[in-house]
């Protein structure tokens, strides 16, 4: 079993990352703040205006560790990666299977089934823990809606129907997820459906930020097993879009949703941690961003017992495992793709 290598996140503007022998040294205003030996790291993620020395970039490329550049809001900008490795036969199988309508439909259905089931668990848990009977009934009705969508899925004859089922279910899900938020902060974190580019309320800003990090993890996972992250099954292929990473991400969105709700309900993230821009966009401010990144990293270290492997697995390794299952399915070693299902 491979271990979960740590990721170094640098959010402080104007930090300078140096290569110092076999360690990364982070300087802020010429003062060394942190040193991390490279062998602990799977990759480095930097936010906004952070400098990285060329020597470090070369070493990361040599080691096969990734360097990801995000803008200040956590949106993906670029990724520095060594030469494409992995198995050409696997990628060829992926491209061949992408033209196979029946196979594509099956994988797309599996991704959405995973997403719906896991999202439903979020609502059910919210309903169980709700203090207010009205909230609980809204949430359990939402869970019933998702269950209905789940039942409609096997009957979906083509991709467009699957996408339609998903869209409708997502609308219902985001329509009631707000009822899990603690009543006294519900006004600050009100969410009226999902908005993005830019997110128009705090909850959407928080979700977008977490999804961006999840997306990175999924993309890295696919690349590390040698799949082409751009060629998806559910998501249409478009230049510059990591469609397969988006596919893989569907079954893990609940992790981001849950974390967002926990952070808000525990008061770890508050209304003041966001910046409201003119024109209605909302983004996480620097301190809030740091809180969220730390919480995300801690969450990834948590383990659960994997339903299929029957052994404890760190949450952060799940995308890796699923990517491997997907690779096996593409090769024909596994009969059908099984999404990760929350128990």
């Amino acid at each position: 079993m491979q271990t979960l290598l740590n990721t170094l996140y640098v959010t402080t503007p104007l930090s300078y990352l140096h290569l110092d022998n076999d360690t990364v040294r982070i300087e802020v205003e010429r003062e060394t703040k942190l040193r991390v030996p490279l062998h602990h790291l799977g990759g480095i993620v930097v936010f906004g205006n952070v400098l990285v020395s060329p020597a470090l970039m070369h070493r990361l490329a040599d080691n096969g560790q990734s360097l990801v550049l995000l803008d200040g809001n956590g949106r993906f900008k670029a990724r520095l990666e060594g030469p494409v490795s992995g198995n050409i036969l696997l990628r060829r199988a992926q491209h061949e299977k992408a033209n196979d309508a029946a196979f594509t439909l099956e994988v797309a259905r599996a991704c959405i089934a995973g997403k719906l089931r896991n999202s439903r668990q979020v609502l059910l848990r919210g309903a169980r823990e709700a203090k207010d009977a009205a909230d609980a009934s809204v949430l359990s009705r939402g869970a019933d809606d998702l269950a209905a969508a789940l039942r409609a899925l096997p009957g979906a004859a083509d991709l467009d129907v699957v996408r339609g089922v998903e869209g409708e279910a997502a609308r219902q899900y985001f329509g009631c997820i707000n009822f899990i938020v603690r009543t006294d902060v519900r006004e600050d974190f009100s969410l009226d459906g999902r908005t993005r580019r830019p997110p128009r309320d705090r909850m959407n800003a928080l979700l977008s930020f977490l999804y961006a990090m999840l997306m990175n993890d999924c993309r890295s996972a696919l690349e590390s097993v040698g799949l082409d992250p751009q060629l998806g099954f559910l998501h249409a292929v478009r230049p510059g879009r990591a469609a397969l990473a988006l596919d893989l991400m569907e079954e893990f969105r609940h992790q981001a949703d849950r974390l967002a709700l926990t952070l808000v309900n525990r008061g770890q993230v508050q209304a003041g941690d966001f910046t409201l821009h003119e024109g209605g966009g909302v983004t996480l401010a620097e301190q809030g961003r740091k809180t969220v990144v730390v919480a995300w990293q801690e969450r990834k270290q948590e383990t659960l017992s994997h339903p299929l492997l029957e052994q404890p697995v760190a949450l952060g390794l799940l995308p890796q495992l699923q990517a491997r299952f997907l690779a096996r399915t593409l090769r024909g070693d596994m009969e059908s793709y099984l999404p990760f299902l929350l128990r």
Binding site: T7, V36, P37
Partner: protein, 96 residues
């Protein structure tokens, strides 16, 4: 596992001071300095052997002294730290 390395290098000669710098440089590349000549490493056995080999290549056995301690798996209960310096846990969230 957690490995602790401490060393005494005889710095009376110029050659000795050079060895001290080189030993420290090897250690800094793999672990973190927790005291002036004490380092902590979060590494496996293979890495530890490699580290030992690299350190032995630097020191002069007639004049210097090197000790490596291997600590059992779970980190956190074996080490209690006090005072100004706080070590970084490389398995925890690394956010700056």
């Amino acid at each position: 596992m957690l490995v602790i390395v401490c060393y005494d290098v005889n710095t009376e000669t110029r050659e000795g001071r050079r060895r001290l710098r080189r030993v420290a440089r090897v250690c800094e590349g793999v672990g973190q300095r927790v005291q002036k000549s004490v380092f902590e490493f979060q590494i496996d056995l293979a890495k530890m052997e490699e580290l030992e080999r690299r350190l032995l290549a630097e020191i002069k056995p007639e004049e210097d002294n090197l000790r490596l301690y291997r600590l059992a798996e779970s980190r956190g209960c074996e080490v209690r730290e006090h005072g100004v310096f706080k070590a970084t846990d490389f398995d925890g969230p690394l956010v700056l």
